[in-house]
Symmetry: C2
Subunit: 476 residues, 2 copies
């Protein structure tokens, strides 16, 4: 492709993206396809000779887009959102165009320094503890791809600290024990397993009626493990669980962790961004006691995936766990924070210039855009909750302080409620008019209404409710 | 940012990228900056109100770009290349614009199906064994972010198979032993450490004069470990090491691994792409015996970072290691390959639509572009080797069958040679006119000339040689 062709096709693609974004609401949210449908429409073998970009875009229009779940659709109420935004799309484009590698400071100084600054800016915008600032004595932040990677990095840091670094040599994890509730994200189990903490040493701590961890139960399980000669080393406290957006009581958990010398990681992948609006700063409760923390601008803030922000208060443990340099090459400058080599802050070596999309989003959207979206989504969730409460056919099954509402169809017994709720979810999703995710809360089938797409407005929520309301009777 | 602003700024950014790409050769390869220089030019605090995109781009021009190492520069001879290309930049842009999540088939069917097809296309283009095809009985492929992640996935699969899956429950890795040479990539050690295989159970197998693993030495070390009651479980064979592009003898290693029931991972991050040209298919030697394999289109093929291709011949082990679903939810369809949930093929949960940039690169550049670039780089390396051979001041210190030349300044003893070579590298890089990476081969300081940037032509290589040649005398 010549530079001239790139200019022409690039301009057209920019227009295509604007058109797609502004008209995505006309599409089905979930595609109507069976496994293999997409592949069967594409050539089984690579082309023998070059094709035009236009022919590729024809296939995008004809085959690819109709086969996608439209995550940017305003009627997307599934999972948690994975938003993009115009400034951040341009940031990703610029990153691809520059094509630099930020694995260490020297491989592209501006890539590292802008990232560090963005973590400091975000610490300030979210009002997080000063111990996470890059200029603090022992802490700092980094962009990870996903909360899963942040979790794994936290586990590895905790593992290093609990073993005084011995794990790097002997790989012995057989006494370490980790704690979370059944509501914690699946990446906790995955990360622990990767790090050699098998399910036998993962403790599911009981939760209360609001699906939050019970501190008394945590203290009990830790005491039991200590009595067995095991080493409690990692607690994950979730600020906004995936199933119900429940908040673990980090202040109480943190006191236990401090007393027991256990690493406390706080996972606020979805909800942490709420702190951009001062009235929701309660989502930061207890972070003074956390060893590490993460939240995802690629969810509620419109910085397109992937962009997870991970802060640690103990970069010595992080570098101990992830730096692959032998001891005599460990950089004093890096440990003191004068120069950061981000390759030692993450699982992979290579890394692209992800700070650009965050920078563009903060400068060209900023709080003027983020705060009204967050506030509107929370208000709409409360308005929807009132509608649900007024409808005897439905139950609200979990607290809903932010933008997730968990509902179920009422019935005389749990089996009937579950089958009716499952049927409702299936019918609503099959309509293509909206998309919801099913979860299970203590045996109860639940329809999650996650209100987080940037373009979701009041009429989308009301239409979604109208759809559920209409399908409810035939589902029971 | 409104849709209209996005169109206007997007068009301008597309033009900016074309301008940047076509004029990058006018810039210093390595920036002339000290730690903190970039940050000191940027506001310490986030802006109080929205700023224009133009003001952000002014800062890109004035502060960011002059602070970058120019990885797309034709005089970039450092590390291995991390190339982009016009079609793949557009693929990344489209991926950002669509903003879908491909964590499982159902979260965006076309995202999964196009990726599977691209892995099959690439298997065909590279002429890899049929056992890696998605439609094979036990194998398949996936896009990983980096070779580091591919390595970790291979280690975790091997760990699962060697323990009959018990590691998921007991996390006990204390008898497992892994093997590579000192020339293997640092991500092997990092991945092993993450997986709970400490340095005490990483064996550095001796290499021969060409920096390739000695099969007899591997067999000996394995026998010693077996005698100690340990469990050899993972061998990494590198096809093109980072330091010198050495090739481990996979055919011989594979026979040992098959006999000993050890997972054989082949890491061809840089060199594997050479197989796009039939005369270089020898880089695939022994892959019939490999359990897993990876190579990076983001290096020599111009698919912008991140794009690593990972194939396994044993997807049961992969799913066993990485699926976080309990047994009773394990999908028969997924294990049989009818539906692929790529979240279970990688470390993170979330994933973006990376297949698009590979698809665009194959369709709109394709072999017509890839093959001449690969051939030219190999030819230029051989031409440079001849110039070096003809210059008594220099030595060639490793075989150079492809596009990496390892050279050193001659001296009466190794200390003088090393200090002269180190001085030469430092002076050449400080000039800003080219960039080389230093490595050490068996105690010898080495200047690596890695010829892999897409725009590197004969006159760039000759100018690079002229620079080295001119600085050589003053370095000795």
């Amino acid at each position: 492709m010549t530079p001239e062709e790139f200019r022409r096709h690039g301009h057209a693609l920019i227009d295509w993206i604007a058109d797609y974004t502004e008209s995505v609401d006309e599409r089905r949210v979930q595609p109507d396809v069976e496994p293999g449908d997409i592949r069967s429409l594409l050539p089984e073998h690579p082309p023998a000779k070059q094709e035009s970009f236009s022919s590729a875009m024809d296939d995008v229009d004809r085959i690819i887009v109709p086969g996608l779940t439209q995550w940017q659709h305003p009627d997307f109420f599934a999972f948690f959102p994975s938003n993009n935004s115009y400034p951040s799309i341009l940031g990703e484009l610029l990153s691809a165009g520059l094509g630099v590698q930020g694995m260490s400071w020297s491989t592209s100084p501006a890539c590292t320094e802008l990232e560090t600054l963005m973590l400091d800016w975000m610490r300030e915008l979210l009002d997080l503890p000063a111990k996470f600032q890059s200029t603090s004595e022992t802490g700092g932040g980094v962009i990870q791809g996903t909360a899963s990677e942040a979790t794994l990095v936290a586990i590895l840091s905790a593992r290093w600290r609990a073993t005084d670094g011995m794990v790097n040599a002997d790989g012995d994890t057989t006494r370490l024990v980790a704690y979370s509730t059944s509501q914690a994200h699946s990446s906790i189990e995955k990360g622990l397993r990767i790090a050699g903490i098998g399910t036998h040493r993962m403790r599911i701590v009981p939760h209360d009626d609001s699906f939050a961890m019970r501190p008394d139960a945590l203290a009990d399980v830790i005491a039991e493990d200590r009595a067995k000669g095991l080493v409690p080393f990692f607690v994950c406290s979730t600020h906004g669980t995936t199933s119900s957006l429940a908040f673990d009581p980090t202040i109480d958990l943190g006191k236990i962790c401090a007393r027991e010398n256990i690493w406390l990681h706080v996972d606020a992948a979805m909800a942490g961004i709420a702190a951009l609006a001062p009235e929701f700063r309660w989502v930061n409760s207890g972070l003074d006691l956390a060893d590490s923390y993460c939240t995802n601008p690629h969810k509620w803030m419109g910085v397109n995936f992937d962009c997870n922000l991970y802060w640690t208060a103990d970069r010595t443990a992080l570098l101990g766990a992830l730096s692959i340099l032998p001891e005599y090459l460990r950089s004093a400058a890096a440990e003191e924070g004068a120069v950061i080599d981000y390759r030692d802050w993450q699982i992979p070596l290579g890394r692209r210039f992800r700070a650009l999309k965050l920078w563009f989003a903060i400068r060209c959207d900023g709080l003027d855009v983020f705060q009204p979206i967050i506030r509107s989504h929370v208000e709409l969730t409360q308005e929807l909750a009132q509608l649900v409460r007024d409808d005897a056919r439905f139950d609200i099954v979990a607290p809903h302080p932010l933008n997730l509402l968990c509902i179920a169809l009422s019935a005389d017994n749990i089996e009937d409620s579950n089958s009716a709720t499952d049927a409702l979810i299936e019918r609503a999703n099959a309509s293509g008019k909206a998309l919801f995710t099913r979860t299970v809360l203590d045996g109860q089938s639940v329809l999650r209404v996650s209100i987080g797409a940037r373009s979701t407005d009041r009429h989308h929520v009301l239409a979604g409710w109208e759809l559920l309301s209409r399908l409810a009777d035939s589902s029971q």
